[in-house]
């Protein structure tokens, strides 16, 4: 009984992440900029990510990843629980598209060879 509980609960996070991600990209942030949304209501900060390796999805060489919040026109907005990115940062991004059309990351993780291999194994297992 315990064995089942332990394995199921502990193994869930990574697999759930892979299941939910529409695209999985190992990339490097090359630049960022803030912009208002179409309703001029929220500031979003957009990050240009150069794709170094695409594990899922076909997003081309560049992906624009966005997070709500930022500073523009003398106004600063901060949204808790969002991810920050630094220009030059390299990461493994688990992406989904929001109803507003932005790509956002469910999670960003260190893009180690071990991590990528694990994700590839999960993806291969799922497609079988």
């Amino acid at each position: 009984m315990w064995l089942i509980i332990l394995i199921v609960l502990a193994a869930a996070p990574d697999q759930e992440l892979v299941n939910r991600a529409e695209s999985i990209v190992h990339g490097r942030v090359s630049r960022s900029w803030p912009a208002w949304d179409a309703q001029h209501k929220y500031i979003w900060t957009h990050y240009e990510v150069q794709a170094l390796d695409i594990l899922r999805g076909n997003r081309g060489l560049v992906v624009i990843v966005s997070e709500p919040g930022g500073s523009l026109d003398g106004i600063s907005m901060r949204v808790s629980e969002t991810l920050d990115y630094a220009v030059g940062e390299e990461a493994l991004l688990f992406l989904y598209r929001t109803p507003a059309g932005h790509w956002r990351a469910l999670s960003k993780q260190r893009a180690t060879p071990e991590m990528k291999s694990r994700i590839r194994r999960m993806l291969a297992g799922r497609s079988q």
């Binding site: 315990w2 064995l3 509980i5 332990l6 394995i7 609960l9 502990a10 193994a11 939910r20 630049r31 960022s32 900029w33 803030p34 309703q39 209501k41 929220y42 900060t45 997070e67 709500p68 919040g69 930022g70 500073s71 106004i75 600063s76 907005m77 901060r78 949204v79 808790s80 629980e81 969002t82 991810l83 920050d84 630094a86 220009v87 030059g88 940062e89 989904y96 929001t98 109803p99 507003a100 932005h102 956002r104 469910l106 960003k108 260190r110």
Partner: protein
Amino acid sequence: MRPLIPACLCAISLCAYTRQATKDGVPLRRADAASIQFLVNGPEEFTPALAAAAKTYGSVATAQVRFATLEATGAANDPMDRRNVFVFLDTPEIRSVVGASVAVTLSVFDDQGRILDTDILFNPAVKFSTTLEAGTYDLQSVATHELGHALGAGHSGILAAAMYQSAARESAIESRLSADDLAFLAEVYPAESTAEAYGVLRGTISLPGGEPVRGGHVVAIDAAAGILVGGLTDLTTGRYALRVPRGAYQVYVQPLDGPVLPRNVQLPESQVTAPFQTTFFGGLAAPQTVEVSTEPAVADLVAASERPGFRIQFLGAYGVFGTGAREIKSGQTVELFLSGPELDGGHAVTLLGPGLSIQPDSLRLDPDLAVNGMPVLRMKVDAAARTSGAMASILVAKDGMAVVQSGALWMEPSSP
């Protein structure tokens, strides 16, 4: 370009817990803290839990934070309307802003760090309850966490703090303010009684070669009282300063290598010192106690750069396993499980908290259990009955090296 990361570096330089800040590093705070008016756009039955969360802050004697009585509103999530609103609506815009989070707090602030407008948006795809119903998030816990953001708090490195980075379903741990959360309030919104109740603990963390430890998690723990307060060293000098309740503390520094990672406290991973070893003031074998009273106390530490291979990755109790804090009912015996790489029967486990003892000879490596292929240590823990809640840390050591899960256990008071 959003310069939030540099801003945070300044903000955490000399504070316990973590604080949100402007792009120039000015910590955020509310000018209306004496009477914060929040409105509710959502089901009427949710209002009592939201009010309870607000009252949790309002009842802190060592802080000047008070919330006005909640009022219903038709106002929604307009970040520029100068109205603070709990929003339970389902629109494409809200789903986009909330993203994968259970809830988010959106704050608008000026260059002086004054918070002008705060909306708390709850994820319409997530189920909330006030009864810890299976599969739901405790509404009061989520609201307590988000109100902390509304007051300017960032995430805490203490697992049982209300401001810990993630909430678990069917858990009410984040509905209580821990000593770490209270220290934030005392720092930012001090009451008249704060000066007498709190003192300052400060110091510098460095590596053996003299290089500063950047972004190290420093924890002051009074194990006898179940009090923990944590903070981060700054990214230039390795200095830290914690505001803590007056008392006697052990002090240690630990790396942000899980479950709290640099990104969880808005630090750029590339600028954080890693790896280094969890190090106690005075040494692991005989940690020294630091007395914090009227004058600032100093605890400088030199952390060994080598880190052990073993870690605690998962913690289990009452049949539930996870990466956050576990609740223990005081006055009971509970079986505790620790899992992580390279754990074996040669490890010593110490519980740093009041009234906790591991039953003699109960600690063992279970050859029949594994979590993601990692070994499991199990033990029976007696938790003495108590009338108030308290936190505890779990220390695992071997060959002079240690790892600590800070605030991994929350001891719930016994039923009367």
